[in-house]
């Protein structure tokens, strides 16, 4: 900890504070040689869609590096604040750090400015981090393409955004998926929304969770970088919901029953 500095800028921007304390987002990778991309853990399927009560965000649990499976219990849906979640696809080191910077950024803003950051401000903060990361992304290191989901307290409305690795943000009205397994399921999401028993936005919590589980299992069938659920080892996809009351994860003990039901055909 250091002495307080004079002439503080009080814009409530945590990244600015971090930089004043000597933190550099870019510096670490600038002088390193280029590793092969396949040496870095990546590969994923994460998805989000609007359902009746809000937003569901789900992800598989596998982290891979090239054709090696590095980890089967990776949490790719990360809480940022009480109302926001980030689902990550890409290099975990960068993605987890972005999530940490973001969550501190939102909390620091709220506490220092004595008001919550607007939903738009939150969406832009992530965009800004991605832009600062462009150099790394283009070098083949640390590319991240996340989904950001939040509940807009002013509009009383849940919002989903996806980003490209350069920081462009796109708001989604229905559904989105990202990661190496996402091409396998985007068509299914669209099909379900248009011609399934009900549009996605009218489905209940259980129906939405069930669909998410099935989608992730499907992605795992075709994409080796997306992990299958392993009920014997208690490894299930991670599923979270955002409603007007904030985010909530589907607890482990509920997941086993939910998973079992999802794996049999609807009658």
């Amino acid at each position: 900890m250091s002495e307080p500095t004079e002439n503080k800028r009080t814009s409530g921007d945590f990244l600015e504070v971090l930089e004043r304390f000597g933190y550099r987002w870019q510096a670490r990778l600038e002088h390193s040689g280029l590793p092969r991309m396949s040496d870095l853990p990546q590969g994923t399927t994460v998805l989000a869609f609007h359902f009746k009560e809000g937003i569901i965000v789900a992800g598989d649990r596998r982290a891979t590096a090239g054709n090696a499976i590095m980890y089967e219990r990776c949490d790719k849906v990360i809480p940022i604040d009480d109302y926001s979640l980030m689902a990550i696809a890409g290099v975990p080191a960068t993605a987890f750090e972005m999530a940490r910077v973001l969550s501190h950024n939102f909390e620091f803003f709220r506490r220092s400015q004595l008001q919550s950051m607007s939903a738009e401000g939150k969406v832009r903060s992530l965009s800004r981090l991605l832009k600062e990361n462009v150099g790394n992304a283009l070098q083949g290191l640390g590319a991240v393409s996340p989904i950001f989901a939040t509940f807009d307290l002013r509009l009383k409305k849940p919002l989903i955004y996806f980003y490209d690795m350069l920081g462009a943000e796109f708001q989604i009205q229905t559904h989105t998926a990202t990661g190496s397994g996402s091409p396998m399921i985007r068509g299914i999401l669209e099909h379900e929304d248009l011609w399934g028993p009900r549009p996605l936005a009218e489905r209940s919590r259980d129906e939405a969770a069930q669909l998410a589980i099935r989608l992730l299992q499907t992605a795992a069938q075709f994409d080796s970088a997306t992990g299958q659920a392993r009920p014997k080892d208690k490894i299930y996809p991670i599923i979270a919901l955002i409603t007007q009351n904030g985010y909530q994860f589907v607890p482990d003990d509920e997941m086993s029953g939910l998973f079992e039901r999802s794996m049999s055909r609807d009658r």
């Binding site: 900890m1 002495e3 307080p4 503080k8 009080t10 945590f14 504070v17 971090l18 304390f21 009480d82 940490r100 910077v101 501190h104 909390e107 620091f108 506490r111 220092s112 004595l114 904030g246």
Partner: protein, 254 residues
């Protein structure tokens, strides 16, 4: 400038009395426990006495608003940088005070050319093992810990009286509602005690400040916030809602 020891002593004591004089009108801020956490409360002409610092830390302060703001920002930055670099569990009040704020305030009397901080803070924390701690930080960087609650007040007599009263009251067994009402009553009584002492010492002009709870509720705002052990979120701080304040008002002002 201060070659002679006497001059130095004189400079320091002038500085002390300058700060004291400036702080003497500072309105009391009380920090007390209740059965689910810690409560900070004060009556203020404008909001800005009770703040959230980190997940489990809150402060209340009096003094020059710009100085309160400077120290608040310092605490916020230190807490968040520490929480980011290490872990939220490493952000504790005793570390923030010992290594951050207290040395900064000690400058008040080391760099005599600089305008001193005009401030008195109380800080509350719920430790990771759910113990509640209160600290009082003086303008000179001196800080003390209190288990049963504490008070900051510009007027020494008021502060001492309220401190004694807080220590006599079993706040930790009270519900939030009870704790808030009792704290308000102590606030009112404290102001009376302070005034009667003042009158004995000096023939002071009639005070224009609110003297009773009734007046205080009419002209000022009751600002109150809690750190609650039962909060489900990571951040335990919340301001009391308008309804909760109204309920206290209804109970206290007949």
């Amino acid at each position: 400038m201060f070659e002679e020891p006497f001059r130095w002593m004189e400079a320091i004591s002038t500085r002390h009395s300058y700060v004291r004089e400036k702080l003497s009108k500072g309105q009391p801020v009380l920090g007390v426990p209740f059965d689910e956490g810690a409560l900070l409360m004060s009556f203020t002409p404008q909001p800005g006495k009770v703040f959230e610092i980190y997940d489990r830390i809150a402060i209340g302060g009096l003094g020059h608003p710009a100085d309160v703001e400077r120290l608040r920002m310092t605490l916020l930055e230190m807490a968040h940088v520490e929480g980011f670099n290490r872990s939220a569990q490493d952000v504790t009040l005793s570390r923030l005070l010992q290594f951050g704020i207290a040395p900064a305030l000690k400058q008040n009397f080391e760099e005599v050319q600089r305008a001193p901080y005009l401030i008195q803070l109380i800080l509350a924390e719920i430790s990771p093992d759910n113990r509640i701690q209160f600290f009082r930080l003086n303008y000179d960087g001196y800080w003390e810990m209190f288990k049963k609650g504490t008070v900051a007040a510009g007027n020494d007599a008021v502060r001492e009286w309220i401190q004694k009263e807080i220590e006599k009251t079993p706040f930790e067994t009270y519900s939030l509602e009870q704790a808030l009402e009792t704290a308000c009553r102590i606030w009112e009584q404290g102001k009376k005690e302070g005034r009667s002492k003042e009158e004995k010492e000096t023939e002071s002009e009639s005070p224009s400040r609110p003297e009773s709870l009734k007046e205080a509720f009419e002209t000022w705002t009751l600002e109150a916030a809690v750190l609650s052990r039962t909060a489900t979120r990571k951040a335990l701080f919340r301001h009391l809602t308008a309804e909760e304040i109204d309920r206290a008002r209804a109970a206290l002002v007949k």
